[in-house]
Symmetry: C2
Subunit: 325 residues, 2 copies
């Protein structure tokens, strides 16, 4: 994995993925006590950076393979990124989701033309078995959410944009906080910035209780979370850092920033008020780190990612309630 | 007023105003029955296109005049656009607001460094008298919200971007719905598109009861609204089309599109869900026109502006409630 692969992904994404802007607001700078710049990947197609990785992976397939179709395990943003990328390539997409996934996510994925196959958690057939069976029957190619070089390269295109946009603002030194699940976006951005903005330090941001990457970076080995399910920040909950992503993040990133769910909700509300963008809790943890964990930062400028593919209205109302009183 | 003045404004805005992206979502296309592209000026600095006009006007002043300061009458987005533009030019700004303006708007304006002077509606001293007195005492230059050539030129830079971004998507024919108050944005965009995308037709969008521009375009003369105050779409309520803007809009724009407050709230909710941006009711009327007044459109593509400088959380919750059931 290196910058060449990210640049090749950027060439394939051109005209298909959006170049999201780099936002900021003086009110946020005041809260953080330093300059805060925000890369709102909630404005990316399907509402999250996952479209970049999905497009990168689907577009990198040989045509014959792509025509047979792709398959992904995901209950959220990766599903939608792969589904839209596949549809626009004229390729079938099968998404395997747990039967207890929120209706919103299932409907959003179907609306993008994917065939959704539900499985029972702890049921007769594990999701991997279903995936294997369907892949063999139909010749589908599995697209992993982060442990897949072309996905990491696609997410890295977000880092290329950050480097260019920060340079336009005269910013070359910064901490870059990235909402981190399996580490695909974190690793991709870190590789891009290593080559294009070496004065920037990437730091993964995670919710309390699901800080596997922060702990793994400290330990120097992949550690898992005590629990997999639950939590408001479900968009970025993964069992442990990826086998492909961790060698990259452990070489280039850290230390991790860990925020509470309450802080993620407040960050969502402040993004609503001052940036006019809609984040989901898991997509707001980096902004929460920038705003509320100032003691953890050394750089004058903090850049952070936001995403918001599947925003539940009830959760958003909880976030807005933090603005009151 | 012509394209030269808009291009000069664009040169002055470069590096200061944001180039907002052009968004879209297939779910919105399906609702509208045609392609919908959205120019989210809520992502502009201060949350609305008014920053473009404010910056254009402040930056066009001779330095000696600018140093003495500027003054504006506004209870909302124009106030904030002028305030931030003045602050970044190192110029004092006085904003005259009604004493019953929402606290949110007063605080947002003060937070941008402006001196806010409140007046009583129907009080001893009319706001124009206060403005005249302060202007003379301090040598301040009045910046009108729309009947001001440099403000129209600044808003027109939004039209330059629309022309370029639509061309990148291969779109040259479209209806362009613009949220319309006094007509500064509508006139500016229409002038820009006349020169850069002559296949596009600009149509002002207004709320029911405040459709002075739609009626004026039909009548061929400036007509006023029956009432000035009140209504959810307060961001775009003005007594009648501007003396400078109407000759431009009557030459280039129409017919108008008129939407209900309920439709504006639903458009806010759909922008939240599918575009992840935050609009205010007055800044959502163009999207409401695009989504819910399909019979009024002939073009295959509808482009519309959004803004959202001062979004009240309670109003936003009302908008979200339209998604339920």
């Amino acid at each position: 994995m290196d910058i060449t692969r990210i640049e090749a992904a950027a060439a394939r994404l051109k005209g298909h993925a959006r170049r999201t802007p780099l936002l900021g607001a003086s009110a946020l700078d005041e809260i953080a006590g330093r300059r805060v710049l925000v890369k709102p990947e909630c404005l990316q197609r399907t509402g999250s950076f996952k479209f970049r990785g999905g497009w990168s992976a689907v577009s990198a397939l040989p045509e014959a393979e792509r025509k047979r179709g792709v398959i992904a395990f995901s209950s959220g943003n990766h599903a939608q990124g792969v589904a839209l990328a596949a549809r626009e390539h004229g390729a079938p997409a099968v998404i395997i989701m747990p039967s207890d996934a929120p209706t919103l996510k299932i409907e959003n994925t179907k609306a993008l033309g994917a065939e959704v196959v539900l499985y029972e958690r702890g049921g007769r057939e594990a999701r991997e078995e279903i995936g294997d069976r369907l892949s063999k029957e139909r010749g589908l190619t599995l697209i992993r959410p982060y442990d897949e070089p072309e996905v990491i390269a696609g997410q890295g295109t977000c880092g290329l944009e950050v480097a260019e946009q920060a340079a336009e603002l005269g910013v070359s030194d910064a901490e870059v906080l990235v909402c981190c699940g399996g580490g695909g976006l974190t690793a991709g951005i870190a590789l891009a910035l290593e080559a294009r903005a070496p004065g920037m330090q990437v730091r993964p941001a995670e919710p309390e209780g699901y800080d596997d990457t922060a702990r793994s970076l400290r330990a120097g080995e992949r550690l898992s979370n005590a629990t997999e399910a639950g939590g408001l920040c479900d968009a970025i909950l993964t069992p442990m850092p990826g086998a492909l992503t961790f060698p990259i993040t452990s070489r280039l990133c850290g230390p991790g920033v860990v925020v509470s769910e309450e802080e993620a909700l407040r960050a969502m509300a402040l993004a609503f008020r001052h940036l006019k963008v809609v984040a989901e809790p898991g997509g707001a943890v980096a902004l929460a780190g920038a705003l509320f964990h100032g003691d953890a930062h050394e750089a004058e400028t903090v850049i952070c990612t936001i995403s918001g593919g599947n925003v539940d209205e009830a959760v958003f109302e909880r976030a807005l309630a933090t603005l009151k009183g």
